[in-house]
Symmetry: D2
Subunit: 239 residues, 4 copies
């Protein structure tokens, strides 16, 4: 694992501009709350990128120098350019880690990597969320015990239409009685992917210490191995 | 799949003999409630076997003529003879399906097949259990929609110390806020295994229609293919 | 499982029109060789569909009445219309089984469902292929023992860039020393997917009895459960 | 990951004492060849333990101070004390990594953790083994490209009777046309397990650079996370 992981925190960054309630919680945008948490965790160099920047802030150069990308989007999934989604997918295949956060479940990049609808049930009603750990010893829950509680959050409920995960690391319950696979891992090509549920824009999840710790742990887990060999495909002579 | 699946419903059958409350719910024993549900489902020939019968009712002949075995035990796991556990394990490897029910999570046979402690959290406090389906289209939830509710049950909570399942089919929530992987599948050798959570002896889960339907579905899913070829191991000449 | 599975065998059907060697092996096209094998297996109603038919033979009505679709393409993947690929994907999510054959690994539909490049190594040099079974007891190898041999085939070699399979059922070796995961299963939404390697157009694999038996077994395995409940997503009220 | 991983290389150490051919290849025992490779890789403190030492060299204290245990056994599996196997299993559950090497597939500890027979086909006939990588980007193949070749080895062939692996990292072909899942991972409780095939006692695999590199990579992969929280099971009060 790299000692200095290069992280790009990507954010749609629209709600904060139009919704005072969101802005009150995240005055500098959700991306900067996440980035601050990662910087505090240490061992990473963190930059941010947002939808309305040129190339959504994800130039070929930025991606080539990103070990792990985090992705939050919600209201503007359709505005993300297909060629840039393609670029991100190629970079994941080449080894870049990807953390998909909350409503990013419906992002073009996540749906492309999963091959499913990624649909789910939801409700905005101040549910209490309890996130239980189903894989103790997994790096993603390192330093935590067996569950964390988020006092108020949007509910996401099963069925969550994703492929059978490589590992189911976290499962949530909500006040309303629903459950959700809140932390699941996949590998696509050389890249590792972690979906992590919390983070509705009207709640302060990305200010909560344990949530940030899981994100930091997941960044470390998703960072590519050093000296990753590019694969050779195509016509091959016999030995 | 066989048109006439031969099922043996194995039951510890101790609580009913000593606890009037359990006897009131299951006057003929839990095994007979389960067996009645399976007979009503059709396509199966169902017998029962219990701990206190000779060889626990699981003679070599009975097992050789069993396509799917269901297992409920709780208070007397340690009384199950090791040689008979070995016999059951061998039969699973040879293709027999196995349904492990509720407190059977701590049975010798389940722990042997899993290789883990199979431990969990629990509470007896009349929790409401909601069982959500995480694999729509799976034969085990055939004919049901997206969840079932058990009005009162014992709580089982994560971490459930099992291997990463081949498929996670069901996840429960409980009134107290816990979650549990309530329906999980595994393959061991030629045999298919389904763990299914409900069924504490002081609640009437095995009289509930949807619970019985899932058990019947799981029996059909776990039945071995016909003409299963025995595998050849050991020294092998080159082609 | 339906007693009468409705199968549509989809074929690109181009090589046979331009290459006399292929036509000599498959005078009626590869699709008709596959369809004949399935009809002989019984329990299925089989039709065919090809690229150059209107809507590639895959109208909404045809797909709605297809339980399992098999897919062979090679030279004209790019000519398959995106809207029809989308239609097939939606139908898989709704429960239709999908068998992807040989060079179909690079089809639009398979890449979309996998989320990976689906790339591989290959060589046309009359390799002998031995397909070993890694999941005895799986319905897909029902009636067969532990391996089959294809005297001459195109080589496909690892790394095969696919997600970690739900189940790895078959692994091949080739004369040149390569290996390949030749039979792998996935679930996407309500649909089951099986990738099966053999079937290069210049070799007679789809006339070989064991190959056809595996395809027939896989069709039965991939057929949807009856009365599959459509899932409900979106906003949900608390209980 | 610990910067200084504490490794114990366990070896049966019998063949070297009775077979001059083995002794000629491994004059200090296979364990010391493996240990030398790990020491050269760096970042580890390596000790050895063997069957004929008191408690097989695996006292409670040694295990408590072992992050990763490697295991090679063959002719004397039955001589390993059950209470010590139990001790090793408990330590794996508590987070210790375990590498099972070659004929260790039939060890008590591996069979207990897998729950299957762990049987396979085999042949001693100087086969050439090619180990292909099926999970590029996995830490276990870090620094290597897409395959390694072992000029002469014992053959192991499928069906290898193990549970569906969490990850299939390596697949071998042999001169005789067989294939084998040569590198597979599992998690049991808090511990990570890697089975790695090469290492028959009459061939010098543990002197081969790439083989030692994979073992060193696997040790780093299997090392437990720091500050692993012990899990709480049993009776639990509601929130």
């Amino acid at each position: 694992m790299a000692n200095n992981i290069r992280v790009t925190v990507w954010h749609e960054f629209r709600h904060e501009k139009t919704n005072a309630a969101v802005r009150a919680i995240y005055p500098h945008g959700m991306h900067n709350a996440i980035a601050a948490g990662l910087r505090a965790a240490g061992g990473m160099t963190v930059r941010t990128a947002t939808l309305d920047e040129p190339e959504h802030g994800l130039s070929a150069d930025v991606l080539a120098n990103t070990d792990v990308l985090t992705w939050w989007g919600h209201t503007a999934h359709q505005e993300v350019r297909d060629d840039i989604v393609e670029r991100v997918q190629q970079r994941v295949w080449a080894g870049m880690g990807l953390l998909v956060l909350h409503s990013g479940h419906f992002s073009k990049i996540f749906k492309r990597l999963m091959g499913t609808s990624c649909d789910l049930k939801w409700r905005q009603a101040d549910d209490r969320e309890i996130i239980w750990f189903t894989a103790p010893g997994h790096p993603i829950v390192q330093g935590l015990t067996d569950h964390i509680i988020i006092p108020r959050e949007e509910m996401y409920g099963e069925h969550f239409d994703i492929p059978e995960p490589d590992e189911t690391v976290l499962i949530s319950s909500f006040s309303g009685g629903e459950v959700f696979r809140s932390g699941v891992t996949y590998r696509r090509g050389g890249g590792k992917i972690f979906y992590f549920r919390p983070g509705h824009e009207t709640y302060p999840a990305y200010h909560q210490k344990e949530v940030l710790q899981i994100i930091a742990n997941a960044v470390r887990w998703a960072a590519p191995v050093e000296n990753l060999a590019p694969q050779t495909y195509g016509n091959r002579q016999p030995l």
